[in-house]
C-alpha cells in the first residue's frame, strides 16, 4: 500500500470554548480509495470535513490535503480547486435550470470534463430545461454529483450522499461512485450513517468517536482481524481474565463469556481453553457490530 496520501491529519484538534469537537484526530486517506468516514452524530465528522475544506480553522495539529497545509489560506484555495464537495443538503441554485447550473459551474473550472457532462446528463435523463427546484431529491443528488465529477476533482468529499434517498436510487448512487473511481483518477472521502453502504463500496474506513479516530484501516483486513470468541463453561463463567491485548469487549452471562477481539484471537482462544471452557466458538464480526462495540466501549 504505497499509494501516496491525499489526506493526512495528525493530532488534529478543534476546540469551541470548553467543547472539544476534535481531540487529536489522526487520519490517512491514500489516493484511489473510497474511504468511509463513520461516527455518531456529534463525533467530529462535519468539523473534520470543514477543516479539510478550509472552512474552519483548527485549534492545533497537522492537516494536509494533496500535501498542502489546509489550515493556510492560500493553500486552502488551491485545495478547494482540486476538490469536489457535496453537502448533505445538496445545495444548488434553485432559480436556475439544469442547463444553466451546469454552464455556470463549468465556467469556473478550466479542467471541466465536457465528455463526462454529456455522459451523465444522458444516463441520468436530466433535461437541460428542467428547473432545479422542481427536481426530486434523488435527481438533485445526481446533479450535485455530476457537478462535482465534471470538475475533474482529484478528491471528492461527500457528506451523507444517500441520505433521504429511496433504496433503488441510493444503489444507483453507489454504482455511480464505484464506476467513477474505477474509471477516473479519483479518491472519495465519504461520510455516512448507512453502514451497509460503506460495507459495500469502501475499501478503507475510519471510525471517529469523541473527536478521535478509534479505528481505521483496510476494511477487508479489519473483517479478517476482528473475531467474536464465545466460550462456554461447565459452571459459572470465570469472573476474571480476558484482559490480553486486542480484546475490545468482554461480556459475561451465566456460563458463557463473549469476547470481541481485534487481532490476537489465538491468545483469547488459548485463554478460554486454559480457563476450562468446554466449547469455544469463533465467528466473524460484521462492520455494524465492530462499530457498535467500539463506540459502546468508549462510552
Amino acid at each position: 500500500m504505497a499509494d501516496p496520501l491525499v489526506i493526512e491529519c495528525a493530532g488534529l484538534s478543534k476546540h469551541y470554548g470548553s467543547t472539544r469537537a476534535l481531540d487529536g484526530l489522526d487520519l490517512q486517506v491514500p489516493r484511489g480509495s473510497i474511504f468511509g468516514f463513520l461516527g455518531r452524530n456529534g463525533a467530529g465528522k462535519t468539523t473534520t470535513i470543514k477543516i479539510l475544506l478550509g472552512m474552519v480553522h483548527p485549534t492545533g495539529g497537522r492537516v494536509h490535503v494533496f500535501d498542502l497545509p489546509a489550515a493556510e489560506r492560500e493553500a486552502s484555495v488551491a485545495i478547494r480547486r482540486r476538490c469536489g464537495f457535496v453537502s448533505e443538503e445538496k445545495d444548488l441554485y434553485n432559480g436556475m435550470t439544469v442547463g444553466e447550473i451546469v454552464a455556470f459551474t463549468a465556467s469556473f473550472y478550466p479542467r471541466w470534463r465536457a465528455d463526462l457532462q454529456e455522459r451523465y446528463l444522458r444516463s441520468f435523463e436530466l433535461s437541460a430545461d428542467a428547473n432545479v427546484k422542481t427536481l426530486s431529491r434523488g435527481t438533485r443528488t445526481k446533479l450535485a454529483l455530476l457537478l462535482a465529477f465534471c470538475r475533474g476533482a482529484e478528491l471528492l468529499i461527500l457528506d451523507e450522499p444517500t441520505s433521504g434517498l429511496d433504496p433503488a436510487v441510493a444503489e444507483e448512487v453507489l454504482q455511480l461512485l464505484v464506476s467513477h473511481v474505477a474509471r477516473e483518477e479519483t479518491t472519495i472521502f465519504l461520510s455516512s450513517h448507512h453502514l451497509a453502504e460503506i460495507d459495500q463500496i469502501a475499501d478503507r474506513i475510519g471510525i471517529v468517536h469523541r473527536g478521535r479516530m478509534i479505528l481505521s484501516g483496510v476494511l477487508d483486513d479489519l473483517r479478517q482481524d476482528f473475531r467474536r470468541v464465545q466460550a462456554v463453561f461447565d459452571g459459572d463463567a470465570p469472573g476474571a481474565g480476558f484482559a490480553t491485548p486486542g480484546v475490545v469487549r468482554v461480556r459475561r452471562k451465566g456460563r458463557t463469556v463473549d469476547v470481541t477481539a481485534h487481532g490476537h484471537v489465538d491468545d483469547v482462544v488459548a485463554e478460554a481453553r486454559a480457563l476450562g471452557a468446554v466449547a469455544v466458538d469463533v465467528s466473524a464480526v460484521p462492520l455494524k457490530e465492530m462499530f457498535l462495540e467500539l463506540v459502546a466501549m468508549e462510552d
Binding site: 444503489e171 464505484v178 474505477a182 476482528f226 473475531r227 489465538d266 465467528s283
Partner: protein, 131 residues
C-alpha cells in the same frame, strides 16, 4: 460465472470473490483458458470497490488459479481442473454419511451447519485463516 459477494457477512469481500471463482472452476462453470471479467467492469457490475476486486485477482494469481496477462486480462490457469462428476458424487455421499452420523448423536442441523462453516472458514480457534 456468477459472482455475488455479501458485504455485510463480515467475511472479507476479496476472500468471498476468490472462493466464488474457485467454486466456478471446480464445478466446471469456468474452464482453463476462459477469460474472467476485467477488474473495472466487474467492480461496476458488483458495486464493490475496484481495489477489492484487484486484490482478489492478485491473490488468485498468487495461488496459481488465474493468470494475469498484461493488457489482455485475466484467464483461468491451465493447471486448474474441475472436480470430475464421479468425485463430486462421492463427495456428496461422504457429506451425507457424516451428517447422518451427527444427527444420530443428537446434534442439531443448526449446530452441524455452524461446525462445518467454522471448520471451512478456519474459525476453529486453531489459527486465523489467511486465505
Amino acid at each position: 460465472m456468477l459472482l455475488r459477494p455479501n458485504p455485510s457477512s463480515g467475511v472479507p469481500i476479496y476472500l468471498q470473490l476468490m472462493e466464488q471463482v474457485k467454486h466456478s472452476i471446480e464445478t466446471g462453470a469456468l474452464r482453463p483458458g476462459d477469460q474472467l471479467p476485467a477488474i473495472r467492469p466487474l467492480a461496476e457490475e458488483l458495486v464493490v470497490n475496484p481495489n477489492t476486486v484487484a486484490k482478489a485477482y492478485r491473490e488468485l494469481e498468487h495461488e496459481g488459479v488465474i493468470e494475469l496477462r498484461h493488457g489482455a486480462g485475466a484467464f483461468v490457469a491451465s493447471s486448474t481442473r474441475a472436480i470430475p462428476a464421479d468425485a463430486m458424487r462421492a463427495a456428496r455421499g461422504i457429506v451425507a454419511g457424516a451428517i447422518d452420523k451427527l444427527r444420530q448423536r443428537g446434534i442439531s442441523d443448526e449446530e452441524i451447519r455452524r461446525m462445518v462453516e467454522a471448520q471451512l472458514a478456519g474459525l476453529t480457534g486453531t489459527g486465523a485463516h489467511r486465505g
